[in-house]
Amino acid sequence: MSTSVLFDVPGPRARLRNNIITLVSAVVVLGVAYLLISGLADKGQLQGRLWEPFLRADVWTGMIIPGLVATLKAAALSAVLALVFGVVFGLGRLSDHAWIRRPAGAVVEFFRAIPLLLLIFFAQAGPATLSGYTVGVPAFAAVVIGLTLYNGSVLAEVFRAGVLAVPRGQSEAGYSLGLSKSGVMRLILLPQATTAMMPAIISQMVVLLKDTALGWVIAYEELLNFGLKQIPANFGNLIPSAIVISVVYIGINMALAHLATVLERRSRRSRGPAAPAGLAGPTAPAGPPSAESAGISVVADSARVE
């Protein structure tokens, strides 16, 4: 990074100053780390008794791994359904017919505007009340429905932006070959849009995976539920368990995010010379970069915080 354009190659004084800053910040970082660890040790949170369960095979096979599987199962099913939802409603919003375009737009805007937790609560409690308590929604289904509706709406906007960002010449060429409207969409626009939007789609998947954690609020037995309820109930180690579970989540999400970066690099390579890295070095996949130029208010995906 010594070639960054934001600062000159350091001279003797700058080097000295850098070294001092390095020293000071290292001391601060180590100090904070020391305070955290000694604080935890002080409160008896570092006792072997509390951490030993994570070395036992049955805790992993009986709790953490089943929890992880449940998390991934909910995430995978919701991801597939959300993609379908996204394609249907994203293209619906691009329809030439107002009677398709308007309702599709309303549905997407509605589910994008309300918190996921509200959707999950209602997905669980709503059908039961509406049917006079004859239909029960299992926690798994409530989580999947909530995740599908919310992430599907976000993906709908991603697909729409992707389709609009394909150069107009592409669809014009398609029409001049005699393709129908749906032919142009299916054979020309959608494949290009999907490739271009792949990084954005994957980072939405990271969001989706993290959001499965909300399942524990309605007692879906996923990773967080095991980590914060069942393991601490057995061993009385809430804090150590929460830390271990965080590490598992971070590992999986970083792997997914890495996949997004790799895919982005590949798609960039296949389209020609790599864009020069900007002032701040390569950023994580930043979503539909061309959304703005297409005149839509879809925003960079690094911005999705849920």
Partner: protein, 285 residues
């Protein structure tokens, strides 16, 4: 051709969603009928309550409530292998019963007037008492009165804190306490050990379970101030099952099983089995 495949994929996805929404709907009308016909029951127990209902790493559940549930199921004609365990939390017990997601609930479930309109209760099968758990070195809390000005744990969906703050206890005494919200009793224990609150107060059996797990750091004060009638929760109006469960409870007291189960889970915690017979049944409604 490819369009048709795409359409088929969409259709199957739609069916899947429809299927998800439909599953979980209740079958036979009463839990008893289901027990007799299918030899199966879904029972809601706590998964995170040491001593009462706790899921172990090997997937089995154990605890006083769990053993009582097994006994009742056996009396209804369902073997242990026919029981599907499901996690019941304080906040979702009524919903689970109303939606038919569980057939019966044995999960530290006290019979209260407030719950009766939503739930049919069989039992009670045990009379517990609300007590207080404090740090072992804390000598300032000895009774209900001494909780005045202390920080106690307020668990969402549980009634225990109301008994103190709103005076619904034996002595009808409203005690002025500071409430500290928490999502579950395990969070309370973490807060108690970390000095973020002074006392966790709920049913003595629950507290004894925690005291046993935590060793010498915490103690139960042994000054009970409510009667908690532990019942078996059933879907509202399921009188048939209720009568059958009541019979099973009477038998459990007659053959001494209840004392055995109690001692299996709570011996050595300072909690003693004092009941001489089954607590008077509340009547099914």
């Amino acid at each position: 051709m490819r369009l048709r495949q795409f359409g088929a994929a969409l259709l199957s996805a739609a069916t899947l969603v429809g299927g998800l929404a439909a599953c979980g709907s209740s079958g036979p009308s009463s839990a008893l009928a289901k027990a007799k016909d299918e030899k199966k029951l879904t029972i809601g127990v706590k998964y995170d309550q040491p001593g009462m209902g706790l899921k172990k790493p090997d997937g089995t559940v154990e605890g006083f409530d769990v053993d009582v549930a097994k006994y009742i199921a056996k009396e209804l004609g369902v073997p242990e292998s026919g029981i599907t365990w499901k996690e019941a939390r304080s906040a979702n017990r009524e919903t689970f019963l109303a939606q038919g997601q569980v057939d019966l609930i044995v999960a530290t479930y006290s019979i209260t007037e407030a719950r009766k309109p939503k739930v049919t209760f069989a039992g009670p099968f045990y009379l517990a008492h609300q007590d207080t758990l404090v740090r072992a070195d804390d000598t300032s809390i000895t009774s209900l009165d001494s909780l005045k000005g202390k920080r106690i744990c307020q668990v969402t969906g549980s009634n225990s804190w109301k008994n103190i703050a709103e005076g619904t206890n034996k002595e009808s005494k409203k005690v002025d306490v500071t409430l500290v919200p928490a999502g579950a009793y395990d969070e309370c224990i973490t807060k108690l050990k970390g000095n973020a609150l002074d006392a966790v107060t709920t049913d003595d059996m629950i507290l004894a379970g925690y005291a046993k797990r935590e060793g010498s750091a915490l103690k139960v004060t042994g000054a009970p101030f409510t009667d908690e009638k532990y019942g078996v929760g059933l879907k509202k109006g399921d009188k048939e099952t209720c009568e059958a469960v009541n019979k099973a409870i009477t038998k459990m007291y007659q053959d001494g099983t209840i004392k055995q189960l109690f001692e299996k889970h709570f011996s050595g915690t300072g909690l003693n089995f004092t009941a001489t017979g089954a607590p008077p049944a509340e009547g099914c409604s």
